[in-house]
Every structure is written in C-alpha cells, then in structure tokens.
Amino acid sequence: MLELFFNATLMTLGLALSSLLLGLVLATLLALGELSRFRLLRYLTVSWVTIIRGLPEILVVFFIYFGATHLLFLLTDEFIEISPFSAGTVALSLIYSSYASQTLRGAFMAVPRGQSEAAKALGLSSGRCFYRVILPQAWRHALPGLGNQWLVLLKDTALVALIGVTDLLRQAQLFSSQTYEPFTWYATAGVIYLVITLISQHCLDKMKQKTSQHIRTVNV
C-alpha cells in the first residue's frame, strides 16, 4: 500500500513538474506574443489566453483528452490513443501558461526601457539582450507570481484523476473505497500535498534571495 501511495505521489509530482516546464516555455511565448509589434499576433494571443482563462480547468482537461483523440481520428482515420498522462500535462501546462503569461508580461514591462537601449547601444543583438539583460530582471519580478501559480498548478493535478491518471488523490480514493477508511487516506493525501507545498515555498524563498542579491547590498 505504501508503495502504491509513493508511486501516486511521484505521479502527481511528475505531472506538476512537467506541466510547469512546458507551461513556463509556453507562458514566455504567450507573453512575448502579447507584447509583439504585430497586431494580428497580439490579437490571437490575447484571444487564446482569454479563452483558456475563461473555461473551467476541468473542461480544458476534457477538451484535450477527448478532443485530441477525436481530432487525431478525424485527421488520420485511425484510432490513436493519447495517454492520460500526456493529455493531462498538455492541459495543465495550457492552464498554467495562460495565467503565468500575464505575470510574465507585467514583469517584462517592469524592466525599464533604458536597459535594452543600453544593450542596443553596445551592439548586442536583440536575442542576446533578451537572454542576458531582460529575462534575468523580469524573472525577479515574476517569481512571486509564478510561485503562487505553481502552488495552484500542483493542486490542479488532482483534476487529471478524472481522465484516469492514478495520482495522489485518485489513489486515496481507491484506498478509501477498499478499506472504508476515507478519512485516513484523504488526510494522508492532504498531508503529502501540504509537505510538497512547504518544500516548494522553501525553494521559492531561496530563489527569491538569489535573484535579489544585487539589491541593497551593504558596503563593507
């Protein structure tokens, strides 16, 4: 039983972390899309983000899981099964990225224009400028918001139980129906979520310290 619970915890963590990684990449692209010079791209990204943010999370999960299977069937005339894990990862990263993109957009705008102008004046390419000058500074502004959304994402993984992934909550549900001890198992699951949250917060604090090391340094 312990082993199954451990596996379920790993499943929850795996889902959350892979959605986080994919979500961060997508969020950066969406934020850049919204700040783009090209009006069409701006409209498209804004509409996309609005749609995802306007739908209940569970609907997005269902859309991706059942919709993608159906779409592949229409396209290829074959029934290709998508694993619930990958469908869940994609759905969760879409949800995460649509919220995180707003945080990132704000963070990009919080970096003063003079910063990229100085890079330009020194002949740095715009890619290098983004990577070395803008991103590290925006990251500091974005970290608190992104950390918050990570905690939400962590608990949204429970939604994926509904498309058949055996995550922490699903495992607790299975055990409690076997043993008729719902309180024990749901409480255990709750404690594990809480521990992961506490560890995340600790890591986030460390990251915040690291990204703020250049602020208000004391002269010795």
């Binding site: 003063p112 100085a118 002949g123 500074q137």
Partner: protein, 245 residues
C-alpha cells in the same frame, strides 16, 4: 574624419522634431549640443548611433556613410546600425547599468560577445576602471555605487569597445553639482586621448567646462554653431539670451 551630417530631418507623427540639420564635427573635438527641452538635441544625438532613424538626410560617422533619403531597407539598416554602435559608444542620463551584473560583468559583456577573449576583456576592464578612478569597485553591484560612480562605470563600459565617437545624453542631469565635476574630469581626460565626443546638456556651466565646440538648437533648427569662443561672444540674440537665463 569626424562626423558630417547633412539635411537630417525627423518627425514623430505630425510633429517635426528636427528640420534640415547640417553640421560637421572634426575628429577629436568635444562638441556640446545645447538647447531647451524639446529642442530636439537628444533626438539628434540618438540618431548618431541610430537609436532613432532619420527620415531624410545623410550622415557620415566613424568611417561609415548613411543615406536616408530614398526609403531605406530596414533589415540592411539594422545590420549596419549594429556595426556602427560598436564604434559609437553612448552614455545615458540614467546610467542604465545592468543591475543584476557586477561592475566587471557590465563592462565585459559586450566585448566578450563580440569575440574579445575573456582574459583580455577583464584586463582591459580593470585598466578602464582605474582610469575612471574606480579600480576597487570591479566586483561591486551597481546599486551599491553612488550616482557619480555609476556614471563613471557607464563611461568605462562604453569605452570597452574602443569607440571612435562617444555620445553623452544629459550625463549629469541626475547628478548633484558637486558630483558633476567627476564627469567633467573624465570627459576632459578623454578629449586628450583624441576621441570625438558629443554631449547633450542643458547645463551651461557644465557645457563651458568641457566644450571645444558648441551647437545651439531651438525648435529643431541649429541656431548657432561654432567654437567654444561662442560662449564668450554669442553670434545670435537667441543664444545670448539662452546663456543669460
């Protein structure tokens, strides 16, 4: 050859900011662009390293020529601008040091990307920091420095690429008068080394101390253009009254 500009103009929307500007600056001169706010002097300065693109005119600077008269090709211009900026350094009013990098990293970032070996860049950076009197600050964060020190770091950063021309956009506007002298010293020292400097300012006292040549602008026109003698003997009524206020 220094800088030669002919019939440069620029409009933002329907506002004509610069109208038919022509001047030339011999190599090694320290030229001050003076004028009230809104006269177009900052825009003019930013054109010299193509942070702004002129609508019309021609420009010769740092052995490169540009002709903006016949609808320029943006992609080509961007490439040229990148090359130009390596020969034309710029110092900003707000210093614009990168706060998340140490002073040393601020200095070596651009030259290392552009192919200078890191070791060489570091030794050059240390040399320049010594020249601006900040050799002990190499490992400091910009936020721990005073305004005057940050501005001197910014000057050192611009000098890392050994530019032919150095542009200053209101370099002392954010500094208190006592600190301004630190920047004056650095600019004077640089003018000994033969680099061409163009300084935008509205502080007449500061301008008098550094200028070997002065250009006075009003409403996007050049009103007066001459040697630093013009501070003592202004040729136009407009410049005379500007100096007196």
């Amino acid at each position: 050859m220094g800088i030669v500009v002919e019939s440069l103009s620029k409009a933002f929307g329907s506002t004509q900011v610069l109208k038919d500007i022509s001047f030339s600056i011999p190599r090694g001169e320290t030229t001050v662009l003076l004028g009230a706010s809104g006269a177009g002097k900052s825009t003019l300065l930013r054109m010299l390293n193509l942070l702004e693109t002129p609508d019309q005119g021609t420009m010769k600077i740092a052995d490169m020529s540009f002709n903006f008269s016949n609808g320029h090709d943006n992609k080509h211009l961007n490439k040229q601008a990148c090359a130009l900026r390596r020969k034309v350094g710029m110092v900003f009013q707000q210093y614009n040091l990168w706060p998340h990098m140490t002073v040393l990293d601020n200095l070596i970032e651009a030259p290392v990307v552009q192919g200078m070996p890191k070791k060489q860049a570091i030794s050059k950076a240390k040399e320049l920091l010594e020249r601006v009197g900040l050799s002990e600050k190499a490992e400091a964060w910009p936020s721990s420095l005073s305004g005057g020190q940050q501005q001197r770091v910014a000057i050192a950063r611009a000098l890392m690429l050994s530019p032919d021309v150095l542009l200053f956009d209101e370099p002392t506007a954010a500094l208190d008068p006592a600190i301004t002298n630190q920047v004056v010293e650095v600019i004077k020292e640089l003018s000994q080394s033969g680099i061409t400097q163009v300084v935008v300012t509205h502080e007449v006292e500061f301008a008098r101390k550094i200028a070997s040549k002065v250009i006075y602008l009003e409403d996007g026109h050049i009103v007066e253009d001459g040697s630093s003698d013009h501070f003592a003997h202004p040729q136009t009524e407009a410049f005379r009254s500007y100096l007196e206020h």
